[in-house]
């Protein structure tokens, strides 16, 4: 399947983010780009969600779900405040 974007994370990330995930802004620690989570690119479904920077393709965060458990692995993302 072709990649998706961060909109698809709204459900899977809803329990992990204090606020609405897709409007949450973050900064890529590799290229400094600032964007909302919705604007990130999402690869790897259905194994997991590999969230990549729209600017440099670097891995920002990886989210996997199994047995009703959601795991978030932060790679290269600094979370900023909401819009």
């Amino acid at each position: 399947m072709q990649h998706l974007d961060g909109n698809v994370l709204a459900g899977p990330a809803s329990e992990l983010f204090p606020s609405e995930p897709t409007t949450t802004r973050g900064q890529c620690l590799s290229c400094s780009d600032i964007a909302t989570l919705a604007q990130a690119m999402v690869y790897g479904a259905p194994m997991g969600y590999v969230v990549r920077c729209r600017g440099c393709d670097g891995v920002l965060v990886v989210i996997t779900e199994h047995d009703g458990q959601t795991t978030v692995n932060m790679h290269s993302l600094r979370l900023l405040s909401e819009l």
Binding site: M1, H3, M47, G48, D57, V59, T64, H66, D67, N73
Partner: protein, 193 residues
Amino acid sequence: MAIFGGRRRNDNPNLPPGQHLTESFPVLSAGPTPSISADDWEFSIRTEGGDIHRWSWQELLALPAEDVTVDIHCVTSWSKLGTGWRGVSLDTLFADVDTGLDYVMAHSYGGYTTNLPLEEVLEGRAWIAYEYDGEPLDPEHGGPARLLVPHLYFWKSAKWVRGLVMQDDDYPGFWEENGYHLHGDPWREERYA
């Protein structure tokens, strides 16, 4: 009432538990498809001593190739039986490699990694494959060349493989770091850690 069955039918003895057959070839990638020209392509094996064994595209093609027909099993539950590949056995590539370590980390163009025990990629169990179904391997399926380790879940068969680095322990690769099983045997359903 409509009953949802999902794509999970297992009446074929060649299917590991929890798998279903597919005729198509679904694509699953952890990142964008890298474009690597044959001129720039290189494959290497690096050992603990820092020795690096390298092969250019031409050198890879000049090695004895094997045609193999194998079943492949993706952890997302599809399996494909009797797939045909052409490539170079890792036994051939390891022939002159001297190492005392028991594990390898496969690295790909684009940054993907996956870990494997050395003994599971030797003795005719793994290849660097560059043809699928008689055609050059499609970039979306890992071309120019991918690792092929069909007895493990297909995420171990790293697409766009660039090299193997010997390691002293079974350190996790990309998916293994994110909750997937270090080993990944489909017959034992080693999906998650």
